[in-house]
């Protein structure tokens, strides 16, 4: 295909002939078919029909530049990388043709040519390798895996571990927990101030003289010491509250003596 393009090149068409347009289309197709400039160079190099190691890079550069010329003549848009390659090859061509300039830096033309030849050979070799690889007997095409695989059933056995430190820490945690246990009222043993107030408001009206406030303790709250303490405390607090309200009077003969309460009459006030 590529060679046909160069056939056209040798007899440049005049005017917009059908043949020319067809050639142009062929060229588009061909460029599309190449995987970049290196691929195109590799294809062009095949026209030399020589071992890639003995390839004439100069000849190849000429061919490539001619190809690009032809494309330009046909007003074909070539991808930028093809043009960059063309510029590079033109540079290489000049280096190969001119005697080496000792002041010039960088690799010589011969070195550059050798590297290009190496790259072409390597690409070609990888192509061949790929073809050989794909031609191998392949799983699912030439040989086949087990059709009814049996999965391995996994069972998990858990082994638990603990060390002495874990054990002691756990115990320490338990034993010290009560020390830090947030205070929680045990409602069963609590006689609240509200309850005491309510009870005493109902009772004070009946008493005339001084009465020991302990006699105001609710029934069933004087047995159990815990309950008795709670009832006593709330009854005392309720008495103070009532005294503050001016409803009762309180008195105590001496320290630790019984506290007595009397209804405060408006007349007495």
């Amino acid at each position: 295909m590529t060679e046909s393009i160069f056939e056209e090149d040798k007899s440049p068409a005049t005017g917009q002939s059908v043949a020319e347009r067809m050639a142009a289309e062929a060229l588009i197709v061909d460029v599309d078919g190449f995987e970049g400039p290196l691929d195109l160079l590799l294809t062009l190099s095949r026209t030399q029909k020589v071992d890639l190691r003995k390839i004439s890079v100069l000849e190849l550069a000429k061919q490539y530049l001619a190809f690009v010329e032809q494309a330009k003549k046909l007003r074909l848009e070539l991808a930028a990388d093809y043009l960059v390659m063309a510029a590079w090859l033109a540079f290489l061509k000049s280096r190969l043709l001119l005697p080496p300039d000792p002041t010039e830096e960088g690799p010589s033309g011969a070195e550059m040519a050798a590297h290009l030849a190496f790259q072409l050979e390597r690409l070609s070799a990888m192509r061949d390798a790929a073809a050989r690889l794909m031609a191998r007997d392949r799983l699912g095409r030439d040989f086949f895996a087990r059709g009814i695989p049996e999965g391995v059933e996994r069972t998990r056995r858990v082994s638990y571990s603990a060390n002495l430190l874990d054990l002691m820490q756990a115990y320490a945690r338990l034993r010290t927990r009560d020390e830090f246990r947030p205070f929680v009222m045990d409602r069963k043993s609590v006689f609240t101030l509200e309850q005491a107030l309510e009870r005493m408001r109902g009772l004070i009206g009946f008493a005339g003289g001084w009465v020991d406030i302990s006699s105001y303790l609710p029934e069933g709250w004087d047995g159990d010491p815990e309950r008795r303490r709670s009832a006593t405390a709330s009854t005392f607090a309720a008495s103070l509250e009532l005294a503050k309200e001016g409803k009762v009077e309180l008195r105590q003969a001496e320290h630790y003596a019984k506290i007595e309460l009397r209804k405060r009459d408006e007349d007495n006030g």
Binding site: I148, G151, R156, S159, A162, D166, M168, A170, R177, R181
Partner: protein, 221 residues
């Protein structure tokens, strides 16, 4: 028609000679191996070159696999290669995973170790929460605890004690070697933070209301 058909088959047989039976055996071996489903004799024949006799080849193949790691077995009308029944255990793989004991389990264990013999109710009293059956079962299964004597209290509740295996695991000669509270504190093992989740005591005291005065006896030194 039928007679004619048969004669055609005969003619074909002579034209396309069937592969040797050893080749046919290879073929059905490959077919049975690779098929995703059991394969009938008819299907095998349909897939093999003309003139093959899958049924005959199968006789050879089955003989070859007698006593092997896999069996050629018949499933309905079809044939399949599968693992020899005695090797089923190879298709199972046990993985052992080591995990830390749960907090409930380690606490229960600690209480048993420090207070043995101890009843379930006593454990719950100390932990402040119920002890699940699973936790106790787990410790019993691990052989770190066992049943002790029944308590001579109403209901005669069972007690738990730690085992020799427990002592061995924790490197103790006796449970008495466990450090006391004071030592734990000295060793900085007492956390000075109030642990969370210790609010209401929801303890099932049904089976043992006994007071647990004995519980600190270990620490009195």
């Amino acid at each position: 028609m039928k007679i004619m058909g048969e004669s055609i088959v005969k003619k074909e047989e002579s034209l396309f000679e069937a592969p040797p039976i050893s080749e046919q055996e290879r073929m059905i071996e490959a077919i049975l191996f690779a098929s995703a489903e059991p394969v009938s004799i008819k299907d095998m024949n349909a897939r093999m070159p003309h003139g093959c006799d899958a049924a005959e080849a199968l006789v050879y193949l089955r003989k070859r696999y007698v006593g092997r790691g896999v069996d050629v077995m018949k499933v309905g009308d079809a044939w399949v290669i599968c693992t020899a029944p005695d090797l089923g255990f190879l298709m199972q793989r046990e993985t052992v995973e080591t995990r830390k004991l749960s907090r409930a389990a380690i606490e229960t264990l600690a209480i048993i170790a420090y207070h043995q013999p101890v009843t379930r109710a006593e454990i719950e009293e100390i932990r402040g929460v119920g002890v699940s059956r699973g936790t106790v079962d787990q410790l019993l299964e691990m052989e770190w605890i066992r049943f002790g004597r029944r308590k001579m209290t109403p209901g005669r509740p069972v007690t738990f004690v730690v085992t020799e295996a427990f002592l061995g695991h924790f490197g103790l000669e006796t449970a008495r070697d466990l450090p006391g509270l004071k030592e734990l504190r000295a060793a900085g093992l007492l956390e000075n933070r109030a642990p969370s989740g210790s609010l209401p005591l929801n303890v099932d005291k049904s089976d043992d209301e006994d007071s647990v005065e004995g519980q600190t006896e270990l620490f009195e030194d």
